[in-house]
């Protein structure tokens, strides 16, 4: 879990500098939180959201705790839903990532509006774009995690049998 969060943070801060109308197109930390929530349950999702959100807030330089609150909520809810429903196929997982992104953004903007005593500002197009991209990356990440070790094992086994034939 910590490894996933750390990698997500590193990539988010160095590579995800793309902006569309001032908003980021991808939130890799959120993707990692949703993954942990789906894979390990609500408690782990809660902790992942809390840690990832706080670190991301600290790195962003704004009010520390807003991102943490939002990601904690999302991580917990995703973990609860993941335990209640079968979310093993790509499509349900995609829906989960999209929904989590929307809920996270709504919660985040609401807290910022309260803190700064202003109205909620939402860029719907950027939000939808981010939700879709998060969903795609999330599915790819699941596939890599689930399929990857098996592939590696098969490759090792193939290599071992080739070497036995030679000798």
């Amino acid at each position: 879990m910590l490894l996933a969060l750390a990698a997500a943070l590193a990539v988010q801060t160095t590579l995800a500098g793309l902006s569309h109308g001032g908003a980021t197109l991808v939130n890799l930390v959120l993707v990692a939180v949703v993954y942990v929530g789906l894979a390990f349950g609500p408690v782990m999702g809660l902790f992942a959201g809390s840690v990832g959100g706080l670190v991301q807030d600290a790195l962003a330089g704004g009010i520390i705790g807003i991102g943490g609150f939002s990601k904690t909520l999302v991580g917990f809810l995703v973990g609860v839903l993941g335990a209640q429903f079968i979310v093993a196929q790509p499509l349900p997982r995609f829906v989960m990532f999209v929904g989590a992104t929307i809920v996270h953004e709504l919660c985040f903007q609401a807290l910022v509006a309260m803190a700064e005593t202003r109205g909620i500002r939402l860029q719907y197009s950027a939000l939808l774009t981010q939700a879709v991209i998060n969903g795609v990356i999330g599915i790819v990440a699941f596939q890599l995690v689930e399929v990857g070790p098996g592939l590696l094992q098969r490759r090792r086994a193939r290599g071992a049998s080739v070497s036995r034939r030679r000798y």
Binding site: S50, I63, A115
Partner: protein, 288 residues
């Protein structure tokens, strides 16, 4: 033991609460105070108020009903203390008043060029009808009969014999046997002011009907009697009317309030033309 779901729920709530506290510690309210601080203070101030009210009620009950054992004794002690303080205040007030009178006397002593001796009135007139007082100065201080006695407001009277070594009697100006050569300060019309027993204690005689003496004129000592210093205030003309014979009928209100004399000055100048007081001869020696 809590159900796993309950534990998870409590864990979730506690983490969310922690985030909210963290956020509120950074966000400032409209008053410029962190939200966490203002909310915490607001909540705890109500708790403190309720606690203080409870403690106050309990203390009030204890003080007003249970702890009354020594109240009576304390009350009596306080009453006594109050009485003592009131007496002390009266004494202080009297001292302050005396200090003011002495200050006036000292001012007069400094202004006048005549040698004077301060004296205190120690006794009133023992015989009704005789307007005299006793002062605490006598022959030991150089006081002689017929010396004038004055006050800041004006002439009081003269020393009448015999004079003791440390006390002397003063005949007041309002005594029926007292008289002083006087004149109206404005018109310089001369006459004689005499003590009277009537409601208006002084009258001025031997003033011609032709003289210009009016109500309100100041009457001062003329000095012709050789006793009272010239120019010192005697009183004010209260009424002035032409008499049926040669002289006017004039009443004078004295300048000095004879009902409240406490400190006076003795003019240490022997009366002009008066018989000098002979000190008693020393034992075994001849007197002068």
């Amino acid at each position: 033991m809590l159900d796993i779901r309950q534990r998870t729920g409590y864990l979730f709530l506690s983490v969310m609460l922690g985030h909210l506290i963290l956020i509120s510690a950074q966000v400032q309210s409209r008053a410029g105070v962190p939200v966490l601080e203002s909310v915490t203070f607001g909540v705890f101030s109500r708790v403190q108020g309720a606690t203080a009210s409870l403690v106050g009620s309990a203390r009030g009950g204890w003080d007003n009903y249970v702890d009354l054992r020594d109240v009576r004794a304390e009350n009596e002690a306080l009453q006594k203390q109050l009485g003592d303080l009131e007496v002390a205040m009266q004494q202080q007030r009297a001292l302050a008043s005396e200090a003011e009178r002495l200050r006036e006397l000292l001012k007069l002593q400094k202004i006048t060029t005549l040698p004077t001796l301060a004296a205190e009135v120690i006794a009133g007139n023992p015989i009704p009808g005789m307007q005299t007082v006793t002062i605490d100065r006598g022959t030991a201080d150089g006081v002689l009969p017929n010396m004038a006695v004055i006050a800041p407001k004006g002439i009081v009277g003269r020393i009448v014999g015999p004079v003791a070594s440390n006390a002397a009697r003063v005949q007041l100006l309002i005594d029926r046997d007292a008289a002083i050569g006087a004149q109206a300060e404005r018109s310089r019309s001369g006459g004689m002011v005499i003590g009277d027993d009537a409601d208006r204690p002084l009258r001025m005689d031997l003033v011609s009907n032709l003289a210009d003496v009016q109500q309100g004129d100041a009457i001062v000592a003329s000095g012709v009697d050789g006793i009272y210093p010239k120019g010192f205030a005697v009183g004010t003309v209260e009424s002035s009317a032409a008499g049926t014979r040669l002289h006017r009928v004039i009443t004078v209100r004295p300048a000095v309030d004879f009902s409240s004399i406490e400190q006076v000055l003795v003019v240490m100048v022997p009366a002009r033309g008066a018989t000098p007081f002979e000190k008693p001869a020393a034992p075994g020696g001849s007197g002068k």
